[in-house]
Amino acid sequence: MKLSILAILLGTAFVSSPALAADNPGTGILKAQCISCHAIAKPENASLDRLWERKGPDLYYAGSKFNKPWLVKWLQEPARIRPAGELYTRHVKGSDKEDVVDESTLTAHVKLSKADAEAVADVLMALSGPADLVSKGAFKGDKVSMSMGAMFFNKLRGCAACHQAKPGTGGSSGPELYTAGERLQADYIYSYIKNPQAIDPHIWMPTLNLAEPDLQRLTGYILQLSASEGK
């Protein structure tokens, strides 16, 4: 009996195989080069320990998160999105002033050829994840005043503490957001701001209980940032 309980205790993160297209060459590349760092099936054990163990963001809902043209482009020229990597605590060190990123602990992302990037993007976009992960149609698409958006992003809601709205300015523990609109689907941005923990359990972004106008405003601002800063 003890042994069986122990087996249950130790039996963490058995993952089921997602529905990957066997006939797509991207499936083979994904299995050979991506899954050592990224989960392509929903982990059964979404604990804080697991968050510390993972080497890169989960991809089992990539199809509900990314814009395909960005994926194809980025996989050929991968540039770091999270200034301090993941998990940031493992990649920072103290200095005379503020903590700094310990570059020696960060590794470059695998780089793919155009054909391979397109094949992998095809496979990733088919991974939509749980149906209730992202609120489809939640972002209403209204234009946002950039000065108003910046005031909420920087001052009133404090997003800039962890995120960069332009290169080199802002925090480093969260992903940069000046390319987020190009990178991410609008409804994903909305849903993640609304409840980061629901999409990414135990993630170090707080859930701020933002009201609907705030969610719309910040989503719109981040999308428009991409148009103005990311190009």
Partner: protein, 132 residues
């Protein structure tokens, strides 16, 4: 004749204890370290980004922040704040105690017990008493 503890325990209780042993990290390690490993892990996950790897308020995010994060190693500054207020600011954020919005509310991420453990950990870091 006295039975030993193990013999007196029903099998189910034994199994329960075995499961509970998996959560031993949630108990204080020793008198020298009067905080839980869970609190340390939570601090390293959520707090270090602003309050720093050295707990001195100089986190990786602090460079461009308009209000600097509190130095948790400052015995004087931390010693002036009661436990209840520390609990409140972690759970409900800076605005709840008329402080900066840059300190977010963590009440949706950590439960009350975890926040209480974190308060105990902060008392260890600042070496500034119990806050009672």
């Amino acid at each position: 004749m006295k039975m030993n503890f193990r013999q007196r325990m029903p099998a189910l209780l034994q199994a329960g204890l075995l499961v509970a042993s998996g959560f031993l990290f949630s108990m204080p390690a020793s008198a020298d370290e009067p905080y839980t490993q869970n609190a340390l892990r939570n601090y390293n996950t959520y707090c270090v980004q602003c309050h720093g790897i050295n707990r001195n308020g100089k986190g990786i995010n602090s460079r461009d922040m308009s209000v600097q994060p509190r130095d948790h190693s400052d015995a004087k500054g931390m010693g002036d704040i009661p436990n209840e207020e520390i609990f409140h600011v972690i759970k409900d954020g800076g605005l709840a105690v008329n402080k900066s919005v840059l300190m977010p509310a963590w009440g949706n991420v950590m439960n009350d017990d975890e926040i209480k453990e974190l308060v105990a950990y902060l008392r260890f870091v600042c070496k500034c008493g119990s806050g009672q």
